[in-house]
């Protein structure tokens, strides 16, 4: 069997793809790769299909052993990966020989790294996806959690044979892809979260809207794949508050919904969110900014800026087009 063995994992590692498209009506979150940019890039570097399952590693600290020859790509947070003790580049495809050891360290910045393998990872599919959600692991719908000692099964084509001129040319094309990718997608220190406003936003006074957008919010340590909790300094009077009358009925929520509970500290819903929620929603952060947000750590700062629906759609369309010529 073609496989990778996890020799040691002290961080968090899961199998991810683009998530479960048709699952929310049953109360399941869509799940899926937190940072689709790095996830898609990893498949892109290998000429894989976009949705092939890959490993999502949070905060590095994993050691893998190749049980066969295979071609992989590492993207996302830079974990100073070492192949048999020698530093290898991030955002690049590389070849592993049988018995090779790949070690990922704690990244200096960013959260999630992705390791894709040529032809993808073999694992249990659930609701048309191989994505694992932390909350549901114990329900046993998907495969087991990946920990020290786990075996990650690979497909037969994990080491494409390069022997014809055409293969060589194809490999060369893939190798040039690395220069289109990388850190430029992510923003520096202060990430601006562009959001599509909802009715509640327009009901706020212009002062309240200005206050909400000029303020810097700090990502709280209580943030994860479900939601990012933000906090701002200052007294509660200085925050934007929503006066709610009576209990609100729960409404389906989006990837990126900006909830504003009564304490005035916004919550941005992420991939493993609940499917419906009752807190007032100011708007929805556009998805390309959510991929950027998913790489931010507690303590880092963000700001909000309203954006039109059309702008957000155009951004997302061109984002996916970037990866559409893979194969």
């Amino acid at each position: 069997m073609n496989s990778l063995t996890v020799l040691k994992s002290t961080g968090l590692c899961s199998i991810q793809d683009l998530g479960r498209p048709h699952a929310q009506h049953l109360g399941f979150s869509t799940g899926g790769a937190a940072d689709e940019y790095a996830f898609l890039a990893a498949n892109f570097l290998l000429g894989n299909q976009n949705n092939y399952a890959a490993l999502e590693i949070t905060l590095g600290q994993i050691t893998l052993k190749a049980d066969c020859r295979c071609k992989i790509a590492i993207t996302g947070a830079d974990c100073q990966a070492q192949l048999n003790g020698k530093l290898v580049k991030n955002w690049q495809a590389l070849l592993l020989e049988e018995h090779d050891i790949l070690q990922l360290h704690l990244p200096k910045e960013g959260l999630h790294s992705y390791i894709a393998v040529a032809e993808g990872i073999v694992s249990t599919s659930w609701l048309n996806s191989r994505a694992q959600t932390l909350n549901e692991l114990k329900l046993g719908f998907t495969g087991h959690a990946i920990t020290s000692g786990s075996t990650i099964e690979l497909n037969d084509g994990c080491f494409p044979i390069i022997n014809t001129n055409k293969d060589v040319k194809q490999w060369d094309i893939l190798r040039t892809r690395t220069k289109f990718l990388g850190r430029h997608f992510y923003q520096s220190e202060l990430l601006i979260l562009r959001f599509i406003p909802q009715a509640l936003w327009h009901k706020l006074s212009s002062q309240a809207r200005e206050k909400f957008c000029t303020r810097q919010y700090i990502i709280s340590s209580n943030s994860n794949r479900m939601a990012y909790r933000l906090s701002s300094n200052g007294t509660s009077n200085e925050r934007v508050n929503i006066k709610e009358t009576g209990a609100k009925l729960s409404v389906p929520v989006n990837f990126g919904s900006v909830q504003l509970p009564s304490n005035g500290q916004p919550i941005v819903l992420m991939k493993e969110r609940q499917t419906i929620g009752g807190y007032p929603v100011l708007g929805v952060v556009m998805q390309t900014d959510l991929f950027r947000l998913s790489q931010k750590r507690p303590g880092q700062k963000v700001k909000f800026l309203p954006v039109s629906l059309i702008q957000a759609q155009q951004q997302l369309l061109s984002f996916y087009q970037k990866f559409s010529n893979s194969s």
């Binding site: 929310q24 599509i196 929805v284």
Partner: protein, 264 residues
């Protein structure tokens, strides 16, 4: 004919790049909810090539669509055209929920209903009165959410309405039948929760089946209760509970797990 409100009053909210929230009046109402479910089914069927998923709740339905295939303007036109057909076509309006009533056997007792005694005190009712008020009513399944298979049922008798626990439990047992505000629900799996537990059911709330007979690779999730269906709770004895395969979870018999940020 049902006394339905006009579909021209439905609000269109384009919440994200690929989602449209159709919102009706802010109320828990069986007739309005049936209209929402009917519209949801029509949209899924007639516009299937553009639709990814639809998620209904009490007074709204979220439509996830392929935004790269259809513009906001086209989608709105298509749905409004569909609404006109639905309103003109009495047959389509009369599509109602299945007559089938889903019966959930519940063992109500002070051992299974962890909050029953305290609730009786708070509500100035006897335990028997709480059981009667909860089990004599027919509920409607309004929404799924919180965790897989967790179905929001309404409307609870006014006499039973209580806010959620001020401090949610880190673990509520699988099969717990609970109430909060105007709603009742069954916890399909053990997990955190802040509703008042009044009993436990031995009935599993979902089944996992192979999507294709020839392969075990993809599986489907089949909930016992579906949105729009009617539900009734049937009181059973401890003996029947055990005969039906129930395993009673007593207070503190479950180890506390980590506090989860999600709660119901």
């Amino acid at each position: 004919m049902l006394n339905q409100s006009s579909l021209s009053n439905v609000t269109f909210i384009y919440t994200s790049e690929n989602s449209l929230l159709l919102q009706w009046q802010d109320k828990i109402c069986q007739i309005q909810h049936q209209q929402i479910i009917n519209c949801q089914k029509e949209i899924e069927r007639e516009l299937s090539e553009y639709i990814v998923d639809t998620v209904a709740s009490y007074h709204c339905v979220m439509i996830y669509y392929h935004f790269e295939k259809i513009s906001v303007v086209q989608l709105e036109q298509a749905i409004k055209a569909l609404f006109t057909i639905i309103e003109r076509n009495i047959d389509r309006q009369l599509v109602t929920a299945s007559e089938l009533i889903i019966e959930i056997p519940v063992y109500y007792g002070e051992d299974s209903g962890w909050d029953l005694a305290q609730l009786a005190k708070n509500l100035s009712l006897s335990i028997d009165e709480i059981i009667t008020l909860h089990s004599e009513r027919l509920y409607r399944a309004f929404a799924f959410g919180f965790i897989p298979g967790f179905c929001y049922l309404a409307t609870l008798d006014d006499k039973l309405q209580q806010p959620r626990l001020s401090s949610p439990r880190t673990i509520v047992p699988k099969g717990a039948v609970a109430i909060a505000e105007k709603q009742t629900a069954i916890y399909p799996d053990a997990g955190p929760g802040g509703w008042h537990i009044i009993g436990q059911t031995p009935l599993p709330l979902y089944d996992v089946v192979n999507a294709n007979e020839d392969t075990s690779q993809d599986k489907n999730f089949l909930p016992v209760i579906n949105i729009g269906q009617q539900v009734r709770f049937k009181p059973i004895s401890y003996q029947t509970f055990c005969q039906l395969g129930g395993e009673l979870s007593l207070v503190d018999s479950l180890a506390d797990s980590q506090i989860s940020p999600i709660n119901e």
